[in-house]
């Protein structure tokens, strides 16, 4: 493993046990997260972004099963860790914030109570220390009057405030890895901006690597160092953010970028990618994207393409065979 890599995932799959047998949602995904970088995962709903992140945290619930050859986090392979061992890492070395700030905090406990838990659990602090550190964290994420917010219940806070609390809670133990699962989707645009800015500045201050899951390409453009594009449970492209926007390789990535509106561009009708994401029970044979792909050939219909290296990036498409390096 290279020195600058914080997280290295090898061959991660997530399957669900159903009445008809095993249903594979995520298949053989491998990727690295470098120290201090923001890695964005993009893709349509249901393409497996959230499941990938939950699998890293070890939070896939039955009937789901996550398997990986290796999940190296900061030098230790956590793929075979017991629940107890993973528990000690969660909220400590790696933590997560979620899409729904309104429902992600327990409505029946005060903010302080929920913040204190992390310090008590991972840092074995006493009540006074917990309180001091929690209030410090609330202040750190830009919450005004943290002493009074500490005593409040979630119901008294706005969505943006609650997401700040979630971020404060997730960063309490200075995690090496923060997974943010669509942290701004449920928020107003202005609040979105504030939360993204906050995450950027906190990352610099704490040197935390961030996996940011989103389906919003403007968020990607603003936040990402590198981007993973997922489609139907597979990584279809992986590239630096500039390269990706400048020259998307995979037809799906291209479709995604084309379906956004650019300022100043004359646009009669919004471009879309025809078709819908395939259902898991009936994945198309060959390339999973071929039914929606304008370049599909007979080979695409019958054979699964592998991820190949092209110009220092990865893409899962036959069109780039021969230009590998």
């Amino acid at each position: 493993m290279k020195d600058n890599v914080l997280l290295s995932v090898k061959n991660l799959s997530v399957k669900f046990k159903t009445l008809d047998g095993m249903n594979t949602i995520i298949e053989g995904n491998s990727f690295d997260v470098k120290k201090g970088e923001v890695l964005c995962m993009v893709g349509e709903s249901g393409c497996g972004k959230s499941l990938t992140s939950l699998a890293i945290m070890g939070l896939i619930e039955k009937p789901g099963i996550a398997k990986a050859d290796e999940i190296m986090l900061d030098g230790e392979d956590i793929s075979g860790y017991s629940e107890e061992a993973l528990r000690k890492l969660r909220g400590n070395k790696m933590s997560m914030i979620f899409q729904e700030p309104l429902t992600s905090l327990n409505p029946l406990f005060t903010i302080g109570n929920q913040m204190d838990e992390v310090f008590r659990l991972h840092r074995k602090m006493d009540r006074a220390e917990c309180r001091k550190n929690s209030i410090e964290m609330l202040r750190f994420v830009g919450i005004p009057a943290p002493e009074s917010v500490y005593k409040r219940y979630p119901v008294a806070l706005s969505g943006g405030m609650r997401q700040r609390v979630m971020i404060a809670m997730a960063l309490s133990c200075r995690p090496k890895l923060l997974i943010a699962d669509e942290p701004t989707t449920a928020l107003d645009v202005t609040i979105q901006r504030q939360i993204l800015n906050l995450m950027q500045s906190l990352r610099k201050e704490l040197d935390t690597s961030i996996i940011l899951i989103t389906h919003d390409l403007s968020v990607v453009a603003e936040m990402a160092d590198r981007v993973i594009v997922m489609y139907a449970g597979q990584i279809v492209e992986q590239a630096d953010v500039r390269d990706l926007f400048k020259k998307p390789l995979h037809p799906y990535t291209e479709g995604l970028i084309n379906s956004t509106i650019r300022l100043g561009e004359k646009c009669e009708r919004l471009k879309t990618i025809p078709g819908t994401v395939p259902n898991n029970e009936n994945m198309p044979k060959g390339c999973r994207f071929h039914p929606r792909c304008p370049f599909a050939t007979d080979r695409c219909r019958n054979e699964q393409p592998q991820l190949i290296n092209v110009e220092g990036r990865e893409v899962r498409c036959f069109r780039y065979e021969g230009s590998e390096n």
């Binding site: 528990r87 429902t103 029946l108 992390v118 659990l121 119901v155 997730a170």
Partner: protein, 304 residues
């Protein structure tokens, strides 16, 4: 909080008034107590004079006003059967009912919460299926049948527990068991389904992502949320156990409120029925108030 409480307590007054009216109406149409009090050969004149003495010849609204006025003076009427003040009778029987209800309620809540949480945790395992089957069975079995089976097993065959009556602790075991089976069977599936629902909430996922132990997640984060929908239904078991245990109390000859009301109905002893039912209604209102206060303490959004 204090204002809310004051409001809730004031609300009790009209509820009690309406209840009194309904109970009075029901008793009014139930039958003529004079027919029961006098021997069949008594003449019309004797009947009329007794009616007049009891105030039963007056029009309906006048009778009601007299009834309410008497109630406010603490006069609940006299039992024809026991020849004793009706309220006195009810108050004498109340401790017995309270004792039985307390034992059954505590046992049901403990059993219901423990089995409900456990079967939600081990959802779809053989243990969960067994608990679900048992609670369905518990709800399906009629109370009187359970009571008779328990008597047959423990009193008649094994001869370890008394058949009926009140006395030492051994007397309370069988009636309390009967009531516990019926009540716990209601609480278990309630806790189980609410627990399963709560465990899928986002804040539980947050708690897991913080690295909390499963026990902390279940007993702290989930359980308090389970209480919110469950608390009223559980609190409402109190009046059911206190006054609604008519059949169980009667079978075990337990001298409680239920048996008193049952005998009152059987003998058309209306003052006793009225006083007894009013007491049960009052307990119901009280239980309701307690559950509302408990809500207030648990859920901050109600306070806001």
């Amino acid at each position: 909080m204090a204002r809310y409480l004051a409001k809730r307590i004031l609300q009790i007054i009209p509820v009690l008034l309406i209840l009194t009216f309904i109970i009075f109406c029901l008793v009014y149409v139930a039958g003529d107590p004079v027919a029961l009090m006098l021997p069949p050969e008594a003449g019309t004149e004797a009947r009329e004079s007794l009616r007049a003495a009891l105030g039963l010849d007056k029009p309906f609204h006048e009778q009601f006003i007299i009834y309410i006025t008497n109630l406010l003076h603490g006069d609940f009427g006299t039992s024809y059967e026991y020849n004793q003040d009706a309220l006195q009778l009810v108050l004498e029987r109340l401790p017995y009912s309270a004792q039985l209800a307390a034992v059954a309620f505590v046992a049901s809540v403990i059993l219901g919460v423990v089995l409900g949480i456990a079967s939600a945790q081990y959802k779809d395992t053989p243990f969960d299926l067994l608990v679900s089957a048992l609670s369905a069975l518990g709800q399906a079995m009629p109370g009187f049948w359970v009571a008779i089976m328990l008597i047959l097993l423990f009193s008649v065959n094994m001869k370890v527990l008394p058949v009926s009556g009140a006395g030492g602790f051994e007397h309370i075991i069988l009636p309390a068991t009967t009531l516990t089976i019926m009540t716990a069977a209601k609480i278990v599936p309630l806790i189980r389904s609410n627990m399963i629902e709560v465990m899928h909430q986002d804040y539980i996922r947050t708690a897991k992502s913080k690295g909390l132990k499963n026990s902390a997640i279940v007993f702290k984060h989930a359980f308090k949320n389970v209480l919110v929908p469950v608390i009223t239904i559980v609190a409402m078991q109190i009046p059911t156990l206190m006054g609604g245990a008519l059949i169980t109390e009667t079978i075990f000859a337990w001298p409680g409120l239920g048996m008193l009301i049952y005998r009152g109905v059987a003998n058309l002893d209306m003052s006793v029925v009225q006083a007894g039912v009013l007491m049960v209604a009052f307990i119901t209102i009280l239980a309701n108030l307690i559950s509302d206060i408990a809500y207030c303490l648990i859920d901050p959004s109600i306070r806001y």
